[in-house]
Symmetry: C3
Subunit: 352 residues, 3 copies
């Protein structure tokens, strides 16, 4: 009688080129959107009001970019990172077709890199994951790499393959909904008159507000995404784990930072790309999340003078207001308050 439960894949279970169809397709609904608002406080008008989204040419409010990300990501966990020790990084993330309530999302991954660590007990797995809707259209395509345990330290190391991943997604590769009627954009309803033109490369923005995380909130968010990583849910096991407590799913911290960024980036209505991302430190219930952003780059979009792209770095901290933009120390290490260093590209209306 074979075991029917699943214990997740170990490092030696992965091979270069392996394709994995992830389980549990998911129809996104207005219920998910309401919960996302309740759990993160998101206020971007395009995602909040159908009438506002209609004015821009969307058929209705698209789902928040990070809600789509977290749902697509969640499906990959049972196969990719159930036995992961660390989620090391993201690259080459592109959002495609907007997601609307009623769409059904599925995820697949391809193994694009493998490198055993010197300790012989762990290795790094690189995957390219793709989320698609019920019509097979790409809604999100990204790479991430995780450190995964070996099941047996004696199993031989595979030939090391480390993919070359770009520093950022080029403007020409960003997917912009083609018939967006941005001239109807209402800045009063959006919450800010600052448009693409008003942001300068190098500008730093304190998002001011802080939001304290509770156990219920991060667990509800993480379950909503059907992310099954054990460290987020099981206090009985974690009390004797590395931190003595449950770890907040990193995607929830990204969502919190993105929602806090409304105060200073209210017109950044959509995320177009994830260039890079690092969960610098774990977050725990009781932590108060603050955030600040800097403008890394401004990119005009081919053929569009009503819309531009901003490459941003958003830094989230714990228990540390961001008026002085905490980031790295003189020795290059991160300020101990930093939880997240997230490099991504947003779309924003511009004045002609």
């Amino acid at each position: 009688m074979s075991a029917k439960n699943r214990l997740g894949n170990y490092f030696e279970d992965f091979s270069i080129g392996q394709e994995i169809v992830h389980a549990t397709p998911r129809t996104v609904t207005e219920g998910d959107v309401a919960l996302y608002t309740a759990l993160t406080g998101s206020r971007f008008a395009v995602g909040s009001a159908d009438a506002f989204a209609l004015g821009l040419g969307f058929p209705r409010s698209p789902v928040d970019s990070m809600l789509a990300f977290n749902i697509v990501f969640g499906k990959t966990v049972p196969d990719i990172s159930l036995n992961a020790i660390a989620n090391l990084g993201y690259a080459s993330g592109r959002f495609g077709q907007p997601v609307y309530p009623g769409d059904t999302l599925s995820s697949t991954s391809t193994v694009i890199g493998l490198k055993e660590n010197r300790d012989g007990k762990t290795g790094v797995v690189y995957v390219n994951s793709r989320g698609t809707n019920q019509r097979g259209e790409m809604v999100l395509d990204y790479c991430r790499w995780v450190m995964v345990r070996k099941k047996d330290a004696a199993s031989p190391a595979p030939a090391a393959v480390v993919p070359e991943l770009p520093d950022s997604v080029a403007a020409a590769d960003l997917v912009v909904p083609v018939d967006l009627e941005i001239e109807k954009y209402d800045c009063a309803l959006a919450g800010s008159t600052d448009l693409w033109n008003d942001y300068q490369v190098g500008e730093q923005i304190d998002h001011v507000d802080g939001m304290t995380i509770e156990e219920s909130e991060h667990m509800m968010a993480t379950r909503l995404y059907q992310n099954t990583a054990k460290v987020h849910f099981n206090q009985h096991a974690e009390k004797s784990g590395r931190f003595g407590r449950r770890i907040v799913y990193g995607g929830y911290v990204i969502s919190m930072a993105r929602s806090l960024s409304f105060n200073g980036l209210a017109n950044a209505f959509s995320i177009a790309a994830i260039n890079a991302g690092r969960h610098v430190s774990p977050a725990f219930a009781g932590d108060t999340i603050y955030a600040w952003s800097s403008v890394v780059d401004k990119m005009a979009l081919p053929g569009r003078n009503d819309l531009g792209a901003l490459r941003l770095r958003t830094v989230a901290t714990k228990d540390r207001p961001c008026a002085d933009f905490p980031y790295k120390l003189d020795d290059g290490s991160y300020d101990p308050s930093v939880l997240l260093d997230f490099d991504y590209t947003v779309l924003m209306p511009s004045r002609a």
Copy 2:
């Protein structure tokens, strides 16, 4: 480079007659309704079952009156009360068009009063706020006044304008859906055979049950309403604040009291007016909310013998059952257990 984040308005930023269009219009969905049920335990049948609402002539279940109130209110916070010290009162609140899932709500406010306090550091701002749906129809119109900090104590006091606000909304001013077919009302499904005729002016009703509030619950509710008042969310800042902890949004306490009032007022299916309201004391996570109501007035409705209005006072307490109707002490001050003193008008079916 100008600051892009928003720090809220101070007392001297307001002027009489000023019109403010609040950001973040909001499409109300079935997801919001489910969350409202999960966060408050609301059981009024009209809002719970489409089939029941259809029997009365509604096209489907309207959204709970207090959910509509909290969403309309939430939008006003970033402009009106982000720097408020206290939410002093409500008056002249009228509910208009019922709100249904799919409706998009927007809020605007007019400054109708200003009065600097003697301390020279704060002032009272009176606003008339209006929530409208996507067709521009009024769904809620109310006045509130808040105590707001001055940015600079040296700035001159404006001429004092204190609006005259009525003690209550007259029966003739209540909005009653015109084609309500109340003769089909099913008391068994509604949960009580007590109709408008059965209530007497002066009658007091203990709502019996108590409900304990958790941090996650009040924060989720408050974020669902996109209410950004800092005191509700930021334990890192509040731990050195006035109370050492996060304060529960007063609108959540009203919702809890209204939901508890089902036990004794099950047929009060809709709120038509908010006559007055006072948040007597702050509520905190861990408090158990109890409530009782008294019937302040009974009002026949012009041209209707199937429906009447009851003016109610609902008092919410913390950690204090309400069998003996705790309210004011001999010296006129409130019993220390009282959190909320809420004067409002409900609609209830009547026997012909």
Copy 3:
């Protein structure tokens, strides 16, 4: 002036044959489904993705069996178990018509048994409860019995009537959606290749994962079901109660166990019957729930070779992993970690 609040029925308020129409019909929505996912982490593909459910011949994703159960059950609480000391057991539970978002559920109960306890202060009430949709179709029919307080110990004992309830629901009595096109079932998306054929009577499955319950979560779930039992919500009263704290609603523990059972029973897409169930010990916030299942019986379904039934026992524990299947001790009493002993029948695709 008669009391308008309701204090629930006592033992002497029930009589054999009594029919009770429960209040608060409820339209189930996508919001409820999203909350159910967020509160339990359910991952069964049929309930997660419309596209997957369509492939099987459902018009869209049906609502999780346990969400339907909990909503139907919740309505019975104000009339049946508000003054209950213990929820003693379930029997003869059959699920009927699948429930879809948009359906409105109502509940009625018939008293089928009464037996006063020897202490003269309590008695056992047996009810047959039925949940129906807006077309009057049965969605759930089950029996349960509860121990209820007498209002007055001096009131005479009724003639004892104890209904004979079957040990399990026969295969022929299970309701199977008639036009299920199970041949299109996609095991990769469902999360497991183990079908009905692969399970053996006597087989034991550890569901591996543990999930810690927080106060907010069980209260939100229980309010979502409009279950008003006081012990779940009122810390102020419970602090001087039997356990000094709020008790988690047993139906939430069943939901957690069912959701955890995905890991090992991913293709058990629907519950067809509840044969028996016992809440062995109360659960509290902070408990980590684990679960394991054994296959009690395998039942072919008349006229179907694409689908079979498995009778399962799922045992939920607190703070106790289930790799060694904790259940009963040598003296026949339950292992102290056991919370739930649940005997039910699921539907699962089979290979022809």
